[in-house]
Amino acid sequence: MASFNSISELLAQLLFMPMLAFLLGLVMVLMYRKIAARLQRRIGPPFFQPVYDIVKLYSKDTQISHGLIHDIGIVVAVGGYVAAVILLPVPGMDGIADKGGIITLSYFLMIPSLGMALGVGQCANPNGSIGISRALTAMLAYDIPFIIVVFGVALHYQSTSLVGMIDYQQAHQWGIFEMPLLAAAGLFALQGMMGKHPFEIYVAPAEIATGPMVEMSGKFMGGLFVMQSFQFYVASVLYTSLFLGGGANWFEFLLKIFFVVEIPMSISFLFPRYRTEDMVRIMWKWPVMLALIGIAFVI
């Protein structure tokens, strides 16, 4: 009966983990917009604004598609994240985190981006292509410090399994106290990974007309809104699992992930945008330096 229980449990997790991620992600989107508003001394959107936006986008009467790959791109962009969050453990639900681990997850997270990149490519709009070329460059920029951080963390915990890392931290102490330099570098990389100011070069609305989103209408845009909420969720949960000891219970977990995601959100409205090469330069300089020194301490 144990196997039956575990199977039914897994099925429940397959259903609940993405839903939960989506809902929390929506709240994070709201938070992002609220923080922006407050920093600009505005009131900001009402509580259900992210829901209104998504419902409206999905309920558009007409929308355009540039072809099958355009459609599939959005499917992969959303579906890739739905799958990725199942690899991310949350309190009480491990999903299939033990089958992959942190390296798998970091590469898994590129699937939605690649899907979107293919979809945007078929739009035959150079603004979109420029956006993707910048987005991939940005990925090259932030992934190098991020992967060094991942390496250091995995080396420190002697494991690539997220579940193992969380257990270790809950038994000992949080990673951020044991590896402060790596945690700082990770936070820096997180800023780039979320694709918000000052590293939102690939969106650049006034310059390349929101880049990848240029030809997205209706449910296509809706898919990208859904993807954005997953993105916030994944970034915060990943960081929490690596450095803040995951969550022993839901209260602690929610507190931590919202705290984590609040930091880059607040920073993002304080700086103007970096040029692509400046972003690469800054990402390859400071966080990489911090992370390498951090690794030296770990070894």
Binding site: R33, A37, Q40, R41, R42, I43, G44, P45, P46, F48, Q49, V51, Y52, D53, V55, K56, L57, S59, K60, D61, T62, Q63, I64, H66, G67, L68, P205, A206, A209, T210, M213, V214, E215, M216, S217, G218, M221
Partner: protein, 233 residues
Amino acid sequence: MSKLGNIPVQAKSEKKRTNPLARVFDELIQFCQSRSMFMLHYCTGCGAIELPPAMTSRFDMERLGIQPMVTPRQADILLVTGYVSVKTLKRVILTYEQMQSPKYVIGICSCTVNGGMYWQSYATAKVLNEYLPVDVYIAGCMPRPEAVIMGLRRLMSNIENGKGNAWKDYYERYDYYLGNQQHLFGDDWQTPVDVIGEAKFYDLEGEETYGEHTRTLEQHQEPLEAAVMRVKL
């Protein structure tokens, strides 16, 4: 069927849907549509200067769920903020046609209503709703941000009550609008957007979708069928 300006206002279908859920969803959708409007401001004239204050901390449009967007594909509202020269009008029409329905047009400033101070200009399109179905006009030279927000709220309540349907008129009476456009731009006028194809595809054709002007268009139109992905060995 009554008329508002030259836009016929269709009474809402009295027949209630049998499925209660369908009605719930319709209302939810209408509500969400009214609470989430992405606007594309086509800044043709001086009225554009009144939009930044409406968006920023003084009046904060985002409270109402209204935020600026960049491309017509993403936008719901087209704000035409000032006089429209003939050359500009071509771009306004293309932009409008590239927006996805339901879509709304708001004419800001007197110039869009009747040409305003450009009344005597030979190069200005004076009445915007001859070329595009306009939902709301906000008169004034220029209207203050309060007035702009008033107009937006009017549009919101229209949408919420299911009255923001001017976009359907563009499909249903495409011949009329196309005629006016051809009158201004010449018979070889065409945009890269296949409006007739869209009307067919989404089943939005009306009695006046086709007419003499669409026939003129067909005579010289470059084909606009999408490239179909198919395996031809």
